[in-house]
């Protein structure tokens, strides 16, 4: 077989596999635009008259409120994690801290601690304090869950700031705050952005804590979607529409920030 033919064949195989992998997402988006009777029919249809019925029904089930809660939780968690992570990551990279290794293993270990190990006391304490079903409380918990990852990622970016720049700033008499926020931080903004993105994605998608720590007022989108499991009758169109709306923000953000995503997902271990 000649080289170019073999090349095109591999390309063809690649595309077939990629499209097969993407198919469930494509099908979800398509089903969201089908009238219910078409979506739930035994024979799948590729061509149909599009309808927004599914989206309408999802909104009728109060999806807007759940989405708003999700936005509040994910944005607040991101702010909390980023604000606390910047100084910590800076201390662990440019400034010398005693037992850097210990501090780092502490940070990593909290990420490796299963949520199952902390959820019971959190539930009991919040219940006693009357703070269950509070979206900001959920957000703060999300902030804590994602803080270690944020610190780790940002540290790997801070490490790349040439120390001479910091030294020069110190010689010029810059204080600690100025040194971090005016000198170092602008150089690591992409790193801060990717830490923020990862925190946002994990918080937006989180299901376990959201199910347990919220009930109605602060319920976020994932447990709302989970409630479809007990649905009766035809509901594939509305389910697909709701799932599409819920997944879309993260999909778009992830598509836009593919490069940062790699480093974020590997917690900064890979450039």
């Amino acid at each position: 077989m000649n080289r170019s033919l073999r090349g095109s064949l591999v390309t063809l195989v690649t595309w077939v596999l990629v499209l097969a992998f993407f198919f469930p997402v494509f099908w979800m988006i398509l089903n969201g635009f089908k009238p219910e009777s078409v979506a739930s029919s035994v024979n799948p249809k590729l061509f149909f008259t599009p309808s927004t019925e599914g989206y309408q029904l999802a909104m009728d089930r109060g999806m807007k409120g759940y989405l708003l809660n999700s936005v509040t939780a994910a944005v607040t968690a991101t702010v909390v994690a980023v604000v606390l992570a910047i100084p910590a990551a800076y201390a662990l990279s440019i400034r010398r801290v005693k037992n850097v290794e210990n501090a780092l293993s502490f940070f990593i270990s909290t990420r490796f601690m299963p949520l199952a190990a902390v959820v019971l006391p959190l539930f009991m304490i919040l219940k006693t304090l009357g703070l269950l079903d509070n979206i900001y409380v959920l957000a703060i918990v999300y902030g804590a869950v994602n803080l270690p990852v944020a610190v780790w990622m940002m540290r790997s970016f801070f490490l790349e700031v040439p120390f001479e720049i910091i030294e020069a700033a110190r010689v010029d008499g810059a204080g600690l705050g100025r040194e971090i926020f005016r000198v170092a931080l602008p150089l690591v903004l992409p790193g801060v952005a990717s830490a923020a993105l990862i925190t946002f994605i994990f918080s937006w998608n989180e299901y376990f804590l959201a199910t347990l720590l919220t009930s109605s007022a602060a319920r976020t989108t994932p447990p709302f979607l989970g409630s479809f499991v007990d649905g009766r009758g035809q509901f594939l169109a509305v389910l697909s529409a709701a799932a599409t709306i819920a997944a879309l923000p993260v999909i778009v953000a992830g598509w836009a920030a593919q490069k940062q995503l790699v480093r974020g997902l590997s917690m900064g271990a890979i450039k």
Partner: protein
């Protein structure tokens, strides 16, 4: 700072009683403190409380019958017949999903590493499953892929004249593994693709000039180079999937050997209302995770201390 410089600084710190700039040290601690306090309050303290709970006789159905009970929650967990199947389910689901997603991720990384028309689009489509909300992914698979009536897989079966399969009830473990593999393959692909693209092109060309075939170049040069990336992928994937809950809650509700530790705890605590018992399962989950993570951490530290900074 390069690795050697770091080492030098570290060595200096170890030998010389470093000209400790007390002010600087205090400042560094001050910078770390808020994050550490926050984490201790929200993760370490609750974990200690979980250990305490696990030593208590405490069922919310009998609020007045509460007291210290020693290790009896652990004993009954070990003898109840729920714990081992749950550990097996957790480990099997994690192992299968991680192995399959690394294998598939490697395949896709290799396919997407070569230049072809529309590569950026293909790559973008490929990472999407990882971005889809896990609850949404589980639901979409349960109904539009696995369902006996309206699922695409069974439509394919019918079209090909094969028997119809009720995936999530007849093959619960396989269904969960399929969904997790589908979600985590892009995760592995991204990490491995970064590894492939970080290869020294000169060495690859040299190998080609020396007449090493594609396969030999791959096994002798590319695979050893990718080892670190595979390790990072495996360990991060394992630690995340060990906690798996969403697909269980949505696809199988813990039936058919898929009751993972996280789901078991959820059942005991929030359906059975047995706090003491559930806490014992929580502690067991942590121990299991620590076993996996110790191996994992060691790897990550090696990577991190050696190549991570540069």
């Amino acid at each position: 700072m390069s690795v050697t410089e770091l080492d030098a600084v570290e060595a200096e710190a170890a030998t010389e009683p470093r000209r400790v700039n007390k002010k600087e040290l205090r400042a560094a601690r001050g910078l770390l403190l808020p994050a550490v306090i926050f984490l201790v309050l929200l993760t370490q303290v609750p974990f200690v409380v979980t250990i305490v709970y696990s030593l208590l006789r405490w069922n919310l159905l009998y609020p007045n019958d509460r007291g210290f009970t020693g290790i009896s929650n652990y004993v009954s967990a070990l003898t109840s017949g729920d714990l081992w199947p749950s550990i097996v389910a957790t480990v099997l689901i994690t192992a299968f999903s991680v192995i399959l997603s690394v294998a598939l991720g490697m395949l896709f990384a290799i396919l997407l590493d070569r230049p072809f028309r529309g590569r950026a689009v293909a790559r973008t489509l490929m990472i999407t499953p990882f971005l889809v909300m896990p609850a949404a992914a589980s639901l979409i698979w349960k109904y539009s892929m696995f369902d006996t009536n309206i699922g695409i897989l069974n439509w394919l079966s019918r079209t090909l004249g094969l028997p119809v399969v009720s995936w999530s009830t007849e093959h619960p473990m396989l269904s969960v593994v399929i969904v997790l593999t589908w979600q985590f393959t892009p995760f592995m692909m991204l990490i491995l693709l970064a590894g492939l693209q970080g290869q020294d092109k000169g060495i690859l060309e040299a190998a080609q000039v020396d007449g090493a075939g594609t396969w030999r170049t791959f096994t002798w040069i590319t695979l050893p180079h990718l080892r670190m990336y595979v390790e990072i992928g495996v360990l991060l994937g394992s630690v995340i999937i060990l906690q798996v809950f969403d697909p269980i809650a949505i696809l199988t509700k813990g039936t058919g050997g898929t009751k993972t530790l996280a789901y078991l705890l959820y059942e005991r605590a929030f359906i059975g209302l047995d706090v003491g018992q559930a806490a014992a399962y929580g502690v067991v989950t942590v121990i299991l995770t620590i076993i996996v993570a110790t191996v994992a951490l060691r790897t990550l530290f090696k990577v991190f201390m050696a190549g991570g900074s540069r």
